[in-house]
Protein backbone atom coordinates (compact mmCIF):
# COMPACT_ATOMS: atom_id res chain seq x y z
CA UNK A 1 0.00 0.00 0.00
CA UNK A 2 1.25 3.47 -0.78
CA UNK A 3 1.82 5.84 2.11
CA UNK A 4 -0.98 8.22 1.14
CA UNK A 5 -3.46 5.39 1.26
CA UNK A 6 -2.82 4.83 4.94
CA UNK A 7 -5.03 6.46 7.51
CA UNK A 8 -3.51 8.98 9.91
CA UNK A 9 -3.52 6.34 12.63
CA UNK A 10 -1.70 3.85 10.38
CA UNK A 11 0.82 6.52 9.39
CA UNK A 12 1.45 7.35 13.02
CA UNK A 13 2.05 3.67 13.78
CA UNK A 14 4.38 3.44 10.78
CA UNK A 15 6.38 6.48 11.88
CA UNK A 16 6.66 5.13 15.41
CA UNK A 17 7.86 1.78 14.08
CA UNK A 18 10.25 3.54 11.67
CA UNK A 19 8.59 1.80 8.72
CA UNK A 20 8.99 5.11 6.89
CA UNK A 21 10.04 8.63 7.74
CA UNK A 22 8.01 11.80 8.02
CA UNK A 23 10.09 13.27 5.19
CA UNK A 24 9.12 10.37 2.93
CA UNK A 25 5.49 10.72 3.88
CA UNK A 26 5.55 14.49 3.45
CA UNK A 27 7.31 14.26 0.11
CA UNK A 28 4.73 11.82 -1.15
CA UNK A 29 1.93 14.22 -0.30
CA UNK A 30 3.79 17.17 -1.80
CA UNK A 31 4.27 15.18 -4.99
CA UNK A 32 0.61 14.25 -5.10
CA UNK A 33 -0.41 17.85 -4.51
CA UNK A 34 1.72 18.91 -7.46
CA UNK A 35 0.24 16.35 -9.78
CA UNK A 36 -3.37 16.13 -8.62
CA UNK A 37 -4.30 19.47 -7.12
CA UNK A 38 -4.28 21.57 -10.30
CA UNK A 39 -7.55 19.88 -11.29
CA UNK A 40 -9.04 20.03 -7.78
CA UNK A 41 -7.78 23.42 -6.53
CA UNK A 42 -7.96 22.44 -2.88
CA UNK A 43 -4.87 24.38 -1.82
CA UNK A 44 -4.41 28.14 -1.86
CA UNK A 45 -0.87 27.94 -0.52
CA UNK A 46 1.49 24.97 -0.38
CA UNK A 47 4.20 25.42 2.24
CA UNK A 48 6.66 22.92 0.84
CA UNK A 49 9.78 24.30 2.45
CA UNK A 50 8.22 24.59 5.90
CA UNK A 51 6.65 21.12 5.60
CA UNK A 52 9.99 19.50 4.82
CA UNK A 53 11.69 21.38 7.62
CA UNK A 54 9.03 20.25 10.08
CA UNK A 55 9.20 16.68 8.75
CA UNK A 56 12.97 16.64 9.21
CA UNK A 57 12.62 17.88 12.76
CA UNK A 58 10.01 15.19 13.44
CA UNK A 59 12.29 12.47 12.07
CA UNK A 60 15.03 13.82 14.25
CA UNK A 61 12.82 13.52 17.33
CA UNK A 62 11.80 9.97 16.37
CA UNK A 63 15.45 9.01 16.06
CA UNK A 64 16.15 10.44 19.50
CA UNK A 65 13.14 8.72 21.02
CA UNK A 66 11.56 12.05 21.81
CA UNK A 67 8.61 11.95 19.46
CA UNK A 68 5.56 14.11 20.13
CA UNK A 69 1.98 12.85 20.04
CA UNK A 70 1.30 13.48 16.34
CA UNK A 71 4.90 13.86 15.28
CA UNK A 72 5.51 14.02 11.56
CA UNK A 73 1.88 13.71 10.42
CA UNK A 74 1.34 15.95 7.38
CA UNK A 75 -1.95 17.76 7.38
CA UNK A 76 -3.48 20.85 5.76
CA UNK A 77 -4.98 23.86 7.49
CA UNK A 78 -8.07 25.67 6.34
CA UNK A 79 -6.97 29.12 5.20
CA UNK A 80 -9.13 30.64 7.93
CA UNK A 81 -6.50 29.82 10.59
CA UNK A 82 -3.81 32.46 10.92
CA UNK A 83 -0.32 31.10 10.35
CA UNK A 84 2.57 33.36 11.23
CA UNK A 85 4.47 34.64 8.20
CA UNK A 86 2.38 32.48 5.89
CA UNK A 87 -0.32 33.81 3.58
CA UNK A 88 -3.73 33.63 5.30
CA UNK A 89 -6.46 34.66 2.87
CA UNK A 90 -9.77 33.33 4.18
CA UNK A 91 -10.57 32.74 0.51
CA UNK A 92 -10.94 36.47 -0.09
CA UNK A 93 -9.41 39.07 -2.35
CA UNK A 94 -9.55 41.24 0.76
CA UNK A 95 -6.77 39.17 2.36
CA UNK A 96 -5.17 37.92 -0.83
CA UNK A 97 -1.85 39.49 0.21
CA UNK A 98 -2.14 39.06 3.96
CA UNK A 99 0.67 37.35 5.80
CA UNK A 100 -0.54 36.81 9.34
CA UNK A 101 1.77 38.31 11.98
CA UNK A 102 0.79 35.60 14.46
CA UNK A 103 -0.46 32.03 14.58
CA UNK A 104 -3.85 30.78 15.67
CA UNK A 105 -4.01 28.64 18.79
CA UNK A 106 -5.15 25.61 16.76
CA UNK A 107 -2.13 25.81 14.46
CA UNK A 108 0.29 26.49 17.34
CA UNK A 109 -1.06 23.56 19.34
CA UNK A 110 -0.66 21.20 16.41
CA UNK A 111 2.82 22.53 15.62
CA UNK A 112 3.66 21.86 19.25
CA UNK A 113 2.71 18.22 18.74
CA UNK A 114 4.94 17.84 15.70
CA UNK A 115 2.20 18.08 13.08
CA UNK A 116 3.57 19.01 9.65
CA UNK A 117 1.79 21.73 7.68
CA UNK A 118 1.53 20.96 3.96
CA UNK A 119 -0.30 24.17 3.20
CA UNK A 120 -3.46 26.22 3.49
CA UNK A 121 -6.69 25.01 1.95
CA UNK A 122 -9.19 26.74 -0.25
CA UNK A 123 -12.53 27.74 1.20
CA UNK A 124 -15.64 29.76 0.55
CA UNK A 125 -14.85 33.42 1.05
CA UNK A 126 -14.87 34.17 4.79
CA UNK A 127 -16.48 30.73 5.24
CA UNK A 128 -19.70 31.90 3.62
CA UNK A 129 -20.94 29.27 1.28
CA UNK A 130 -21.80 25.60 0.94
CA UNK A 131 -20.11 24.75 -2.35
CA UNK A 132 -16.71 26.41 -2.33
CA UNK A 133 -17.74 28.48 -5.30
CA UNK A 134 -17.39 31.82 -3.51
CA UNK A 135 -13.60 31.63 -3.09
CA UNK A 136 -11.55 34.39 -4.67
CA UNK A 137 -9.05 31.64 -5.51
CA UNK A 138 -11.44 29.71 -7.67
CA UNK A 139 -13.87 26.84 -7.24
CA UNK A 140 -12.77 23.63 -5.59
CA UNK A 141 -13.75 20.43 -7.34
CA UNK A 142 -15.08 17.31 -5.71
CA UNK A 143 -12.47 14.55 -6.14
CA UNK A 144 -15.28 12.02 -6.58
CA UNK A 145 -16.40 13.83 -9.71
CA UNK A 146 -14.72 16.99 -10.85
CA UNK A 147 -17.98 18.37 -12.20
CA UNK A 148 -19.36 18.45 -8.69
CA UNK A 149 -18.77 20.69 -5.71
CA UNK A 150 -16.96 19.46 -2.59
CA UNK A 151 -19.35 21.36 -0.30
CA UNK A 152 -18.34 24.28 1.83
CA UNK A 153 -17.17 26.29 3.36
CA UNK A 154 -14.33 23.88 4.25
CA UNK A 155 -14.37 22.54 0.69
CA UNK A 156 -10.60 22.70 0.19
CA UNK A 157 -9.93 20.83 3.42
CA UNK A 158 -12.47 18.15 2.46
CA UNK A 159 -11.31 17.82 -1.12
CA UNK A 160 -7.63 17.51 -0.23
CA UNK A 161 -8.26 14.78 2.35
CA UNK A 162 -10.67 12.95 0.02
CA UNK A 163 -8.07 13.14 -2.77
CA UNK A 164 -5.44 11.86 -0.34
CA UNK A 165 -3.38 15.01 -0.67
CA UNK A 166 -3.13 15.31 3.11
CA UNK A 167 -3.56 12.93 5.98
CA UNK A 168 -6.28 15.10 7.50
CA UNK A 169 -7.19 18.78 7.65
CA UNK A 170 -8.38 21.39 10.08
CA UNK A 171 -11.68 23.07 9.28
CA UNK A 172 -14.36 25.28 10.78
CA UNK A 173 -18.10 24.97 11.05
CA UNK A 174 -20.52 27.87 11.50
CA UNK A 175 -23.64 26.26 10.07
CA UNK A 176 -22.35 22.98 8.68
CA UNK A 177 -19.06 23.92 7.05
CA UNK A 178 -17.29 20.79 8.35
CA UNK A 179 -20.12 18.28 8.28
CA UNK A 180 -21.62 19.13 4.89
CA UNK A 181 -18.31 18.86 2.96
CA UNK A 182 -17.50 15.71 4.96
CA UNK A 183 -20.75 14.23 3.70
CA UNK A 184 -20.21 15.38 0.13
CA UNK A 185 -16.60 14.12 0.00
CA UNK A 186 -17.00 10.82 1.90
CA UNK A 187 -15.11 11.90 5.02
CA UNK A 188 -15.50 11.93 8.76
CA UNK A 189 -15.90 15.48 10.03
CA UNK A 190 -16.49 16.63 13.57
CA UNK A 191 -17.58 19.99 14.87
CA UNK A 192 -17.01 19.92 18.61
CA UNK A 193 -18.99 21.69 21.32
CA UNK A 194 -18.76 25.48 21.05
CA UNK A 195 -15.77 26.52 23.16
CA UNK A 196 -13.95 23.19 22.98
CA UNK A 197 -11.50 24.44 20.32
CA UNK A 198 -10.02 27.91 20.65
CA UNK A 199 -11.20 30.51 18.16
CA UNK A 200 -8.10 32.67 18.68
CA UNK A 201 -6.56 33.26 15.28
CA UNK A 202 -9.47 31.63 13.49
CA UNK A 203 -10.84 34.40 11.31
CA UNK A 204 -14.33 35.20 12.52
CA UNK A 205 -17.47 34.78 10.46
CA UNK A 206 -20.16 34.56 13.15
CA UNK A 207 -18.54 34.53 16.55
CA UNK A 208 -21.32 32.85 18.52
CA UNK A 209 -21.55 30.01 15.99
CA UNK A 210 -18.01 29.44 14.66
CA UNK A 211 -16.17 26.39 15.90
CA UNK A 212 -12.99 24.72 14.71
CA UNK A 213 -12.82 21.01 14.06
CA UNK A 214 -11.43 18.27 11.89
CA UNK A 215 -11.92 16.63 8.52
CA UNK A 216 -10.39 13.17 8.45
CA UNK A 217 -10.71 9.77 6.87
CA UNK A 218 -11.96 7.95 9.95
CA UNK A 219 -13.40 8.65 13.38
CA UNK A 220 -10.17 7.28 14.82
CA UNK A 221 -8.11 9.83 12.87
CA UNK A 222 -10.50 12.62 13.85
CA UNK A 223 -10.18 11.62 17.51
CA UNK A 224 -6.38 11.80 17.36
CA UNK A 225 -6.34 15.25 15.81
CA UNK A 226 -9.18 16.68 17.89
CA UNK A 227 -7.44 15.65 21.11
CA UNK A 228 -4.49 17.86 20.32
CA UNK A 229 -6.52 20.78 18.95
CA UNK A 230 -8.88 21.06 21.88
CA UNK A 231 -8.51 22.66 25.25
CA UNK A 232 -8.79 25.85 27.19
CA UNK A 233 -7.19 28.97 25.75
CA UNK A 234 -6.94 32.10 27.91
CA UNK A 235 -6.82 34.14 24.69
CA UNK A 236 -10.39 33.13 23.85
CA UNK A 237 -12.90 34.25 26.48
CA UNK A 238 -15.44 31.80 25.08
CA UNK A 239 -13.10 28.83 25.36
CA UNK A 240 -14.21 26.16 27.84
CA UNK A 241 -12.00 25.62 30.84
CA UNK A 242 -12.83 21.94 31.08
CA UNK A 243 -10.40 19.08 30.74
CA UNK A 244 -10.26 17.38 27.34
CA UNK A 245 -10.95 13.65 27.47
CA UNK A 246 -8.68 11.15 25.76
CA UNK A 247 -10.73 10.82 22.56
CA UNK A 248 -8.57 8.11 20.94
CA UNK A 249 -9.27 6.01 24.03
CA UNK A 250 -12.94 6.98 24.31
CA UNK A 251 -13.76 5.85 20.78
CA UNK A 252 -13.46 2.25 21.94
CA UNK A 253 -16.11 2.68 24.63
CA UNK A 254 -18.97 0.23 24.31
CA UNK A 255 -22.02 1.64 22.52
CA UNK A 256 -24.52 -1.08 23.25
CA UNK A 257 -27.50 0.45 24.96
CA UNK A 258 -26.86 3.77 23.23
CA UNK A 259 -30.14 5.63 22.76
CA UNK A 260 -30.43 7.29 19.38
CA UNK A 261 -33.21 9.75 18.65
CA UNK A 262 -34.78 10.28 15.25
CA UNK A 263 -36.38 13.71 15.10
CA UNK A 264 -39.53 13.14 13.08
CA UNK A 265 -39.60 16.71 11.80
CA UNK A 266 -36.18 16.22 10.18
CA UNK A 267 -37.52 13.33 8.17
CA UNK A 268 -40.55 15.35 7.11
CA UNK A 269 -38.20 17.65 5.18
CA UNK A 270 -37.95 17.29 1.45
CA UNK A 271 -35.29 14.74 0.52
CA UNK A 272 -34.75 12.16 -2.20
CA UNK A 273 -35.50 8.48 -1.54
CA UNK A 274 -31.85 7.46 -1.72
CA UNK A 275 -31.14 9.66 1.28
CA UNK A 276 -33.96 8.04 3.27
CA UNK A 277 -32.78 4.61 2.21
CA UNK A 278 -29.14 5.13 3.27
CA UNK A 279 -30.25 6.64 6.53
CA UNK A 280 -32.53 3.71 7.24
CA UNK A 281 -29.71 1.30 6.47
CA UNK A 282 -27.48 3.17 8.87
CA UNK A 283 -30.16 2.95 11.54
CA UNK A 284 -30.22 -0.83 11.03
CA UNK A 285 -26.44 -0.92 11.54
CA UNK A 286 -26.87 0.83 14.87
CA UNK A 287 -29.63 -1.54 15.90
CA UNK A 288 -27.26 -4.40 15.18
CA UNK A 289 -24.62 -2.67 17.29
CA UNK A 290 -26.99 -2.76 20.23
CA UNK A 291 -28.36 0.77 20.10
CA UNK A 292 -32.00 1.55 20.70
CA UNK A 293 -33.79 3.87 18.32
CA UNK A 294 -36.47 6.24 19.46
CA UNK A 295 -38.56 8.75 17.55
CA UNK A 296 -38.35 12.18 19.09
CA UNK A 297 -39.79 15.58 18.30
CA UNK A 298 -37.87 18.63 17.23
CA UNK A 299 -40.74 21.04 16.65
CA UNK A 300 -38.71 24.14 15.84
CA UNK A 301 -36.53 22.76 13.04
CA UNK A 302 -38.25 25.09 10.57
CA UNK A 303 -36.96 28.08 12.48
CA UNK A 304 -33.31 27.03 12.12
CA UNK A 305 -32.70 28.45 8.68
CA UNK A 306 -34.29 31.88 9.28
CA UNK A 307 -32.67 32.18 12.72
CA UNK A 308 -29.29 31.31 11.26
CA UNK A 309 -29.63 33.67 8.32
CA UNK A 310 -30.48 36.55 10.64
CA UNK A 311 -27.87 35.90 13.33
CA UNK A 312 -24.88 34.79 11.27
CA UNK A 313 -25.11 37.76 8.87
CA UNK A 314 -25.71 40.14 11.79
CA UNK A 315 -22.54 39.00 13.52
CA UNK A 316 -20.61 38.88 10.25
CA UNK A 317 -21.65 42.41 9.34
CA UNK A 318 -19.67 43.62 12.37
CA UNK A 319 -16.88 41.03 12.17
CA UNK A 320 -16.08 42.07 8.62
CA UNK A 321 -16.04 45.82 9.30
CA UNK A 322 -12.32 45.65 10.07
CA UNK A 323 -11.57 45.04 6.41
CA UNK A 324 -11.28 48.68 5.44
CA UNK A 325 -7.99 48.94 3.56
CA UNK A 326 -6.28 50.84 6.36
CA UNK A 327 -4.06 48.47 8.34
CA UNK A 328 -3.66 45.34 6.22
CA UNK A 329 -5.06 43.55 3.23
CA UNK A 330 -6.51 44.85 0.02
CA UNK A 331 -6.90 48.58 -0.61
CA UNK A 332 -8.54 50.07 -3.70
CA UNK A 333 -6.39 52.04 -6.15
CA UNK A 334 -5.96 55.74 -5.43
CA UNK A 335 -8.82 56.48 -3.07
CA UNK A 336 -10.05 60.05 -3.50
CA UNK A 337 -11.42 60.43 0.00
CA UNK A 338 -11.85 58.45 3.17
CA UNK A 339 -15.34 57.45 2.14
CA UNK A 340 -14.09 56.43 -1.28
CA UNK A 341 -11.40 54.32 0.39
CA UNK A 342 -14.00 52.44 2.44
CA UNK A 343 -16.56 52.09 -0.31
CA UNK A 344 -14.30 50.91 -3.07
CA UNK A 345 -12.03 48.76 -0.90
CA UNK A 346 -14.99 46.85 0.46
CA UNK A 347 -16.93 46.70 -2.78
CA UNK A 348 -13.93 45.47 -4.76
CA UNK A 349 -12.43 43.34 -2.00
CA UNK A 350 -15.50 41.30 -1.06
CA UNK A 351 -17.32 38.85 -3.31
CA UNK A 352 -21.05 38.90 -3.89
CA UNK A 353 -22.11 36.32 -1.26
CA UNK A 354 -20.12 38.10 1.44
CA UNK A 355 -21.65 41.43 0.45
CA UNK A 356 -25.12 39.92 0.45
CA UNK A 357 -24.66 38.66 3.98
CA UNK A 358 -23.15 41.90 5.23
CA UNK A 359 -26.14 43.78 3.83
CA UNK A 360 -28.66 41.36 5.33
CA UNK A 361 -26.90 41.53 8.68
CA UNK A 362 -26.70 45.31 8.62
CA UNK A 363 -30.40 45.43 7.87
CA UNK A 364 -31.30 42.97 10.64
CA UNK A 365 -29.48 45.15 13.16
CA UNK A 366 -30.63 48.52 11.91
CA UNK A 367 -32.91 50.82 13.83
CA UNK A 368 -36.48 49.73 13.39
CA UNK A 369 -35.68 46.14 12.45
CA UNK A 370 -33.57 45.01 15.39
CA UNK A 371 -36.52 43.76 17.41
CA UNK A 372 -38.35 42.15 14.52
CA UNK A 373 -35.31 40.36 13.16
CA UNK A 374 -32.30 40.18 15.44
CA UNK A 375 -34.04 39.97 18.79
CA UNK A 376 -36.80 37.73 17.49
CA UNK A 377 -34.18 35.41 15.99
CA UNK A 378 -32.34 35.26 19.31
CA UNK A 379 -35.52 34.20 21.03
CA UNK A 380 -36.20 31.59 18.38
CA UNK A 381 -32.62 30.42 18.85
CA UNK A 382 -33.55 29.67 22.44
CA UNK A 383 -36.54 27.63 21.25
CA UNK A 384 -34.25 25.50 19.10
CA UNK A 385 -31.78 25.03 21.96
CA UNK A 386 -34.74 24.01 24.13
CA UNK A 387 -35.72 21.37 21.58
CA UNK A 388 -32.28 19.81 22.06
CA UNK A 389 -32.51 20.03 25.85
CA UNK A 390 -35.85 18.26 25.68
CA UNK A 391 -34.51 15.60 23.30
CA UNK A 392 -31.45 14.82 25.42
CA UNK A 393 -33.69 14.01 28.33
CA UNK A 394 -34.59 10.79 26.56
CA UNK A 395 -31.81 10.05 24.06
CA UNK A 396 -27.99 10.18 23.93
CA UNK A 397 -27.70 11.56 20.43
CA UNK A 398 -29.76 12.62 17.47
CA UNK A 399 -29.43 10.97 14.08
CA UNK A 400 -30.27 12.43 10.69
CA UNK A 401 -28.88 12.71 7.20
CA UNK A 402 -26.13 15.34 7.09
CA UNK A 403 -27.42 16.90 3.88
CA UNK A 404 -30.61 16.65 1.89
CA UNK A 405 -28.69 14.88 -0.92
CA UNK A 406 -25.34 14.06 -2.49
CA UNK A 407 -23.17 16.73 -4.04
CA UNK A 408 -24.46 18.94 -6.81
CA UNK A 409 -22.88 20.24 -9.96
CA UNK A 410 -20.68 23.29 -9.93
CA UNK A 411 -22.84 26.27 -10.87
CA UNK A 412 -26.11 24.45 -10.20
CA UNK A 413 -27.10 26.45 -7.12
CA UNK A 414 -24.75 29.37 -7.52
CA UNK A 415 -27.44 31.86 -8.43
CA UNK A 416 -30.06 30.61 -6.02
CA UNK A 417 -28.97 31.58 -2.52
CA UNK A 418 -31.99 30.04 -0.79
CA UNK A 419 -31.52 26.67 -2.47
CA UNK A 420 -27.87 26.81 -1.43
CA UNK A 421 -28.82 27.72 2.14
CA UNK A 422 -31.04 24.63 2.34
CA UNK A 423 -27.88 22.51 2.18
CA UNK A 424 -27.39 23.28 5.85
CA UNK A 425 -30.91 22.60 7.07
CA UNK A 426 -29.83 19.58 9.17
CA UNK A 427 -26.50 20.94 10.33
CA UNK A 428 -27.46 24.46 11.48
CA UNK A 429 -29.38 23.51 14.65
CA UNK A 430 -26.23 22.12 16.35
CA UNK A 431 -24.42 25.43 15.76
CA UNK A 432 -27.31 27.44 17.13
CA UNK A 433 -27.23 25.39 20.32
CA UNK A 434 -23.43 25.12 20.44
CA UNK A 435 -23.57 21.30 20.42
CA UNK A 436 -21.11 18.81 18.92
CA UNK A 437 -21.96 17.15 15.62
CA UNK A 438 -20.26 14.56 13.49
CA UNK A 439 -20.78 13.44 9.91
CA UNK A 440 -19.44 10.24 8.42
CA UNK A 441 -20.02 8.27 5.23
CA UNK A 442 -23.08 6.04 5.22
CA UNK A 443 -23.74 5.34 1.56
CA UNK A 444 -23.41 6.60 -1.96
CA UNK A 445 -25.58 7.44 -4.92
CA UNK A 446 -24.38 7.57 -8.49
CA UNK A 447 -20.80 7.34 -7.31
CA UNK A 448 -21.13 10.29 -4.90
CA UNK A 449 -20.87 9.82 -1.15
CA UNK A 450 -23.58 10.48 1.41
CA UNK A 451 -23.18 11.36 5.07
CA UNK A 452 -24.89 10.52 8.32
CA UNK A 453 -25.03 13.07 11.09
CA UNK A 454 -25.06 12.51 14.81
CA UNK A 455 -25.53 15.43 17.18
CA UNK A 456 -24.63 14.93 20.82
CA UNK A 457 -25.15 16.72 24.07
CA UNK A 458 -22.70 19.35 25.23
CA UNK A 459 -19.11 18.07 25.55
CA UNK A 460 -20.01 14.60 24.35
CA UNK A 461 -17.80 14.54 21.29
CA UNK A 462 -16.20 11.41 22.74
CA UNK A 463 -19.53 9.61 22.50
CA UNK A 464 -20.06 10.82 18.93
CA UNK A 465 -16.60 9.68 17.88
CA UNK A 466 -17.18 6.36 19.52
CA UNK A 467 -20.55 5.90 17.78
CA UNK A 468 -18.91 6.73 14.44
CA UNK A 469 -15.92 4.50 15.14
CA UNK A 470 -18.10 1.48 15.91
CA UNK A 471 -20.09 2.16 12.74
CA UNK A 472 -16.86 2.24 10.76
CA UNK A 473 -15.73 -1.04 12.28
CA UNK A 474 -18.67 -2.79 10.65
CA UNK A 475 -19.05 -0.76 7.44
CA UNK A 476 -16.76 0.10 4.54
CA UNK A 477 -18.13 3.40 3.23
CA UNK A 478 -15.28 5.34 4.83
CA UNK A 479 -12.70 3.12 3.13
CA UNK A 480 -13.78 4.06 -0.36
CA UNK A 481 -11.69 6.55 -2.16
CA UNK A 482 -12.16 8.52 -5.37
CA UNK A 483 -10.21 7.51 -8.44
CA UNK A 484 -8.03 10.31 -9.67
Amino acid sequence: MELHELTLKQQLDGLRESSFSSVELTQEYLKRIKSKDPSINSFITVTEELALKQANEADDRYSKGKALTLDGIPIAHKDIFCTEDVLTTCGSKMLSNFKAPYSSTVVSKLFDQGVVMLGKTNMDEFAMGSSNETSFFGEVKNPWDLNYVPGGSSGGSAACVAARLASAATATDTGGSIRQPAALCGLTGIKPTYGRVSRYGMIAFASSLDQGGVLARTAEDAALLLSDMSGHDPKDSTSLNIEVPDYPKEINNDISGLKIGLPKEFFEQEMPDYVRKSTEEAIEVYKDLGATIEEISFPNIDLSLPVYYVLAPAECSANLSRYDGVRYGFRCEEPKSLEDLYMRTRSEGFGSEVKRRILIGTYALSAGYYDAYYLKAQKCRRLIANDFTEAFKSVDMILSPTTPGTSFKTGEKKNDPIDMYLQDIFTIPANLAGLPGISFPCGSYNGLPLGLQLVGNSLEEGKLLSAAHHFQKVTNWHKESPEL
Binding site: P101, G195, P234, R346, K379, R381
Partner: protein, 98 residues
Protein backbone atom coordinates in the same frame (compact mmCIF):
# COMPACT_ATOMS: atom_id res chain seq x y z
CA UNK B 1 -41.27 41.97 3.83
CA UNK B 2 -39.32 43.72 1.16
CA UNK B 3 -36.67 46.37 1.04
CA UNK B 4 -37.30 49.77 -0.41
CA UNK B 5 -34.66 51.22 -2.72
CA UNK B 6 -33.99 53.90 -0.14
CA UNK B 7 -33.50 51.34 2.63
CA UNK B 8 -31.11 49.31 0.52
CA UNK B 9 -29.09 52.43 -0.27
CA UNK B 10 -28.96 53.35 3.39
CA UNK B 11 -27.84 49.96 4.65
CA UNK B 12 -25.30 49.77 1.84
CA UNK B 13 -23.90 53.08 3.05
CA UNK B 14 -23.91 51.91 6.68
CA UNK B 15 -21.99 48.82 5.57
CA UNK B 16 -19.77 50.94 3.27
CA UNK B 17 -20.59 48.81 0.27
CA UNK B 18 -21.18 50.29 -3.14
CA UNK B 19 -23.94 48.81 -5.22
CA UNK B 20 -23.60 49.69 -8.86
CA UNK B 21 -26.71 50.69 -10.76
CA UNK B 22 -26.69 47.57 -12.95
CA UNK B 23 -26.70 45.02 -10.15
CA UNK B 24 -29.04 46.97 -7.88
CA UNK B 25 -32.32 45.34 -9.01
CA UNK B 26 -31.00 41.77 -8.98
CA UNK B 27 -29.35 42.23 -5.59
CA UNK B 28 -32.52 43.73 -4.20
CA UNK B 29 -34.43 40.72 -5.53
CA UNK B 30 -32.05 38.30 -3.82
CA UNK B 31 -32.20 40.16 -0.54
CA UNK B 32 -35.98 40.26 -0.69
CA UNK B 33 -36.00 36.52 -1.18
CA UNK B 34 -33.81 36.06 1.89
CA UNK B 35 -36.00 38.42 3.89
CA UNK B 36 -38.94 36.29 2.76
CA UNK B 37 -37.26 33.39 4.53
CA UNK B 38 -37.45 35.38 7.76
CA UNK B 39 -41.24 35.54 7.66
CA UNK B 40 -41.28 32.18 9.36
CA UNK B 41 -39.95 33.80 12.53
CA UNK B 42 -43.24 35.61 12.97
CA UNK B 43 -45.05 32.31 13.34
CA UNK B 44 -43.05 31.39 16.45
CA UNK B 45 -44.53 32.20 19.81
CA UNK B 46 -41.67 33.71 21.79
CA UNK B 47 -43.67 35.27 24.60
CA UNK B 48 -41.60 35.11 27.75
CA UNK B 49 -38.67 33.50 25.92
CA UNK B 50 -35.30 34.92 26.89
CA UNK B 51 -33.10 36.00 24.00
CA UNK B 52 -30.12 33.69 23.45
CA UNK B 53 -27.14 35.68 22.31
CA UNK B 54 -24.60 33.01 23.04
CA UNK B 55 -24.47 29.22 23.32
CA UNK B 56 -22.39 29.33 26.51
CA UNK B 57 -24.11 30.15 29.76
CA UNK B 58 -20.96 31.08 31.64
CA UNK B 59 -19.39 34.17 33.16
CA UNK B 60 -16.75 36.12 31.29
CA UNK B 61 -13.24 35.25 32.50
CA UNK B 62 -10.77 38.04 33.17
CA UNK B 63 -7.04 38.55 32.90
CA UNK B 64 -4.64 40.31 35.24
CA UNK B 65 -3.76 43.91 34.45
CA UNK B 66 -0.31 43.17 33.10
CA UNK B 67 1.52 44.38 30.02
CA UNK B 68 2.27 41.23 28.06
CA UNK B 69 2.76 42.67 24.58
CA UNK B 70 5.99 44.07 23.23
CA UNK B 71 6.37 46.48 20.36
CA UNK B 72 6.03 44.55 17.10
CA UNK B 73 5.23 47.48 14.87
CA UNK B 74 7.40 46.38 11.99
CA UNK B 75 5.88 42.93 11.86
CA UNK B 76 2.35 44.24 12.35
CA UNK B 77 2.76 46.68 9.47
CA UNK B 78 4.22 44.21 6.96
CA UNK B 79 0.87 43.80 5.22
CA UNK B 80 -0.14 47.46 5.58
CA UNK B 81 -1.13 49.20 2.33
CA UNK B 82 0.43 52.57 3.18
CA UNK B 83 2.62 53.50 6.11
CA UNK B 84 4.80 56.51 6.87
CA UNK B 85 6.79 57.17 10.04
CA UNK B 86 5.00 54.28 11.69
CA UNK B 87 1.56 55.76 10.95
CA UNK B 88 -1.10 54.17 8.75
CA UNK B 89 -1.97 56.69 6.06
CA UNK B 90 -5.51 57.30 4.86
CA UNK B 91 -7.05 60.04 2.73
CA UNK B 92 -7.40 63.14 4.87
CA UNK B 93 -9.75 62.75 7.80
CA UNK B 94 -11.82 65.90 8.08
CA UNK B 95 -12.37 66.77 11.70
CA UNK B 96 -16.00 66.95 12.60
CA UNK B 97 -17.10 64.63 9.84
CA UNK B 98 -18.57 61.27 10.63
Amino acid sequence: MSLSDKELKEIAYLARINIDENSFPSLKGELDEILGLFEKLNSANTDGVEAMSHPLNLSQPTRKDEVTEINQREKMQESAPLVQSGLFLVPKVIEGEN
